[in-house]
């Protein structure tokens, strides 16, 4: 198990989740499960479609939801944006 910090931005911020919290988990998927059990289905639904980054690297560049976490890692739930 790893002691990590999780930040909630965008829609999760609007749903009243704390800005950040400390969790002890194994993988990124565990943080998603934590959101479901602690904050409910709506937060889970929102979190699932967000950009998730570990130490500012997108999990798509890692092992997606199965990315293993280490002590001190920062997991961020970020909104998808556009621009130009």
């Amino acid at each position: 198990m790893a002691a990590v910090k999780v930040q909630y931005r965008g829609r999760l911020h609007d749903l009243g989740l704390p800005e950040e919290e400390n969790l002890t988990v194994n993988t990124v998927k565990d943080t998603l499960t934590h959101i479901k059990t602690t904050f409910g289905a709506e937060a889970y639904k929102a979190a699932k479609i967000m950009l998730v980054a570990v130490n500012a690297t997108g999990i798509l560049m890692l092992k997606a939801w199965n990315t293993k976490l280490a002590d001190g890692d920062l997991v961020q739930y970020l909104p998808i944006c556009g621009g130009g």
């Binding site: 699932k48 479609i49 690297t57 944006c81 621009g83 130009g84």
Partner: protein
């Protein structure tokens, strides 16, 4: 063309003898080139002799609109400027929102062709079908904000600041708080002693089928509001929301593009901006997207920085002070400076110092003198006048060409191409130089959007880049904001999210769609339909003008635009050699990005040229010009052959 829609009316203005005359656009020009950057580029062939120096009085600037500008269709406040590019020597096109375009049309003109040079500072006042040359002695020396405040409030305005007056190579123009920043057209205004243009009028903007047009626009607005990108992400975070996403994909330029990742990027992110600095959203006229950030700067509310400015005045300089970026963004705007080229040139100067090649007093991670440096650049003071010439010029004088981050002489936007190789190809081939938008904005489907078409792989990228470049040019030339085109990414993908297996699979499969896209490029006319899901602009244009326009025709119009721009470059002596990127991006790996992070430009370029119907020197072939109905410009190729 069976329609009662009037042909566009332009004015030819001669600043030397202070005369003007109306110029109705020939029917054939309108039909083929429509408006905006496409028609503007075509008109440069008519009015500007080849190889004219940008600052010569014979140099021409076309300020124009598209048929949808100010028509009431969503996101259509845009107007355009075309000229010879101060930084590249090729085509310059710069697009801007605000009210000027709409007011120009209400004043009775769809465009103005400016030639000659005034002997004393002046500005053009365009009121209800008349043009007057006004003395600008009181405005000269004023910044863009003060100059605009000096003029009547209801006018649409377009003004240069001190940077334009001092011919800084990347000087732009301000319209309200909006900037036509790129390509240095502000400097050409300065060389002509033209402070700017103001327009006001009460004429109705023509629409051929008003009822059908307004009914369609209502549906289009609803579509934009219901789409996750234009109805939620952009209003909520603006383009600034890209900072964290780009950073998470190693696509955020850091320390002069040394790498694509910056640990403290969140401090200058769109989320931080929205949560801690945003006072409200703003928008251009008729735009339901409302992406503009309004933020507080000391005791006033100003326009907030876009993604480019946050990235390039932030991580690309080793900085993460959001208040500093807000301030520098404002300073650049009032001085009339393009934030992209300015910030990128300063970052290059920072690396010149690190490598011991030159010292302009700027350092990575050091913010305290940046505002002063920008003022000195705008005023062309001492050695800072050299910073005002851009990174290509600097690299030729002081060395460092391998890490001078420009294409054709114009600095790259804030998308690290080694993590979006299609974007890299787009930058290299972009007609106006290192521009993400003229480059097709491949980054949106590679690394920074919900969809990720294998960012470091080159498969299918040349074909996608051609398609996207044509599509963006088409949207721009009718007078629409490019943000309105971002709905072509299906909303369902936003609902599934980037991590969903379906979204990831589509990204994977799309990397093998090269042959399909190439077929579409060859036969765009198979798209004989219009739909909200691809290009709503085509149907809106059809109902506005009464002219036949399907999605396929629309893409072809964009292709014609891209080719006329390219032909202007060819005429001015640019070749395929300039379709290149600096060595840092094509040979060196990203510092923290892994060993597959270079832009394989040599492998993509030949495929790109083939898909375009260009020869190996990046020049449109005779066959391509004939196919596009541009046989009247074949003489440019004849001239090139004679020179060769």
């Amino acid at each position: 063309m069976k329609t009662n829609y009037p042909l566009p009316l332009y004015a030819i203005v001669n600043l030397t003898d202070k005369t003007w005359e109306p110029y109705p656009i020939p029917k054939d020009f309108f039909k083929k080139f429509v408006g905006g950057k496409s028609l503007g580029s075509r008109l440069l062939f008519e009015f500007m002799p080849s190889h004219t120096d940008v600052f010569d009085p014979a140099s021409v600037v076309v300020v124009n609109t598209g048929p949808l500008t100010g028509s009431g269709a969503p996101s259509t406040s845009r107007f355009n400027l075309c000229a010879k590019n101060v930084l590249t020597g090729g085509i310059a096109t710069s697009n801007c929102g605000g009210t000027f375009g709409m007011m120009l049309r209400r004043a009775g003109f769809d465009g103005v062709i400016i030639m000659g040079a005034s002997d004393a500072p002046c500005y053009l006042e365009i009121l209800d079908g008349e043009i007057a040359f006004r003395d600008a002695a009181e405005l000269w020396g004023k910044d863009t904000e003060a100059a605009q405040e000096h003029l009547p409030k209801p006018y649409g305005k377009l003004m240069i600041g001190p940077a334009g007056e001092n011919k800084v190579s990347y000087a732009g123009l301000a319209s309200g708080e909006r900037m036509a920043g790129r390509c240095g057209i502000g400097a050409i205004f300065g060389s002509k002693k033209l402070k700017g243009l103001v327009a006001y009028g009460t004429k109705e903007i023509p629409v051929a089928q008003p009822e059908r047009f307004y009914a369609y626009n209502k549906k289009w607005i609803r579509f934009l509001q219901n789409h996750s990108m234009t109805g939620d992400a952009l209003p909520r975070y603006g383009s600034a929301g890209l900072v964290n996403k780009a950073n998470s994909m190693n696509a955020l330029p850091t320390k002069n593009f040394e790498s694509g990742h910056y640990d403290a990027a969140d401090k200058v992110s769109g989320e931080t901006l929205a949560e801690t600095r945003l006072t409200r959203n703003g928008s251009c006229v008729s735009c339901p997207i409302r992406c503009e950030r309004r933020v507080r700067l000391e005791n006033k509310e100003v326009k907030g920085p876009e993604y480019e400015t946050l990235g390039l005045f932030g991580p690309n300089m080793g900085l993460h002070d959001i208040d500093l970026v807000i301030r520098l963004n404002y300073v650049c705007d009032i001085l009339g400076i393009d934030t992209i080229s300015c910030a990128s040139t300063i970052a290059f100067a920072m690396e010149l110092y690190e490598k011991g090649l030159a010292d302009f007093g700027v350092r990575f991670g050091k913010a305290d003198n940046l505002e002063e440096v920008i003022y000195k650049i705008a005023n062309a003071e001492g050695i800072y006048a050299e910073l005002g010439k851009g990174s290509k010029w600097l690299s030729r004088k002081y060395g460092g060409e391998d890490f001078a981050i420009h294409a054709k002489g114009m600095e790259l936007a804030a998308y690290e191409p080694r993590r979006s190789v299609g974007m890299g190809l787009g930058y290299a081939t972009s007609n106006r130089g290192g521009c993400h938008l003229n480059g097709g904005y491949g980054a949106l489907v590679e690394s920074i959007g919900v969809l990720s078409i294998r960012p470091t792989k080159r498969w299918a990228k040349p074909d996608w880049v051609v398609f996207l470049q044509n599509a963006l040019d088409a949207i721009s030339l009718v007078g629409c904001c490019l943000f309105s085109g971002q709905t072509f990414i299906p909303n369902i993908l936003f609902k599934l999210g980037p991590n969903h297996i379906i979204t990831r699979s589509i990204g994977f499969i799309a990397s093998f769609t090269g042959p399909v896209i190439r077929l579409l490029l060859k036969f765009p006319l198979v798209l004989q339909f219009n739909t909200f899901f691809l290009m709503p602009h085509a149907e809106s244009f059809h109902r506005c003008t009464g002219m036949h326009m399907t999605t396929g025709d629309f893409i072809r119009t964009g292709e014609r635009c891209y080719n006329v721009e390219r032909l202007f470059n060819v005429r001015e002596g640019l070749t395929g050699k300039q379709d290149a990127l600096p060595k840092r991006l094509t040979k060196d790996f990203q510092k923290y990005g892994g060993h597959d992070t270079t832009v394989p430009i040599d492998k993509m370029l030949p495929i790109y040229y083939r898909a375009r119907g260009w020869d190996k020197n990046g020049c449109p072939t005779r066959r391509t010009l004939k196919k596009l109905g541009m046989s009247d410009l074949l003489y440019v190729l004849d001239e090139q052959e004679e020179v060769a």
